[in-house]
Amino acid sequence: MNKKAVILGVIVVAIVAGIAASVSSSPSETVNLDMGRTHGTISTAMGSAILGDPSAPITIVEFGDYQCHQCYNWFHNTKPAITRDYVETGKVNLVFVDLAFLGNDSPKAAQASYCAEDQGMYWDYHDLLYNSQEPKIDGGWANSERLKAFAFSLDLDMKLFESCLDSGKYSKRVQYNIQQARDNGVSGTPGFFIVGPDEQQQISGAQPFSVFKQILDSMI
């Protein structure tokens, strides 16, 4: 009887620990499995996982390139305030869609981010790329070796990651995203669409937080 109770107890503790671990490991990251996902006029089916509450009433769709220095500026100067005031408060969520056009390493970097998504680390990898960006386009900081080194630094399963990246598994996914940018008239990176319940507003360039705040507040 006691043995049964101990086994039952262990199972219950394991289940509770498993649930707690899965909730606490990535509170704001959901893997994109919705192939029909759209935000306004944009098909984000092949875009990133949603950052923030998936049921938030407003979505910011960002078109970006990992080698784009203006995207780097936006990532460091504007995004933190948006994340703090709108994403973490559940008012807004964010989707990243690749417009990987600046250099030969751009599409590969975008593909690598989806290889990281396979292991539930899309946003960690995304952030790492923008934190590691160097000024030169195709200067080597985002070549295959470095992309693998970034994955290694995040403790990803390297066998899985390398086979994903080397096989070009997500090549068509990135091409699809570039086509979405073209279809929606995005002419440079970063490009944004703020999609609210009733309207959609386009913002071009690494604009300051005040601009996003004004639009977001008018939609909430």
């Binding site: 500026n73 460091h76 071009s204």
Partner: protein
């Protein structure tokens, strides 16, 4: 040197011309380099880490305005050769083109239109944005001193 500048800008027409060149070039470059946005609201923004690029744009605009107006003065007053404007124009174009494309407001459109040639050109202009602007400033300075020297001789200005 001051005598030459006074000679040119004693005529209000050249002060006005110089101001128009400076303002239009500066605003154009600031828009292309994403220091000024026109939509959805008119807003200016100087992100941290981009201060040097901003200062270089101001210097290029100011030098272009100075050199181009002085050369137009030479052409109008002295009926000098138009070829002598070369340095100022070349410097202005080089300065304006550096870093103006890349991932900015027209980057994707440029690369979509011009393909791999556009991609190579924009990557080059982006990678060497700061050195190219410094070279442009050097060309404009050279053009400025050449113009001043020529005006001193041609107008018989005593320094």
């Amino acid at each position: 040197m001051m005598q030459t500048i006074k000679l040119v800008f004693s005529n209000f027409k050249y002060v006005f011309l110089s101001s128009v060149i400076f303002v239009s070039m500066m605003i154009g470059l600031l828009i292309l380099s994403e220091y000024i946005f026109l939509e959805p609201y008119i807003v200016s923004h100087l992100p941290s880490g981009t201060e040097l690029g901003f200062v270089l744009i101001l210097v290029i605009s100011a030098l272009s305005a100075l050199v181009i107006s002085m050369n137009i003065f030479r052409i109008n007053i002295l009926k000098s050769s138009k070829q002598k404007m070369g340095g100022g124009i070349v410097g202005s174009i080089i300065g304006a083109s550096a870093g103006a494309c890349s991932c900015g407001p027209v980057g994707f459109a440029v690369i979509s239109t011009f393909g791999s040639v556009g991609a190579t050109a924009t990557a080059f202009l982006t990678n060497y944005e700061i050195p190219i602007r410094i070279i442009a400033i050097a060309i404009l300075f050279a053009a400025y001193f050449t113009t001043v020297k020529s005006l001193k001789i041609e107008c018989n200005v005593h320094s």
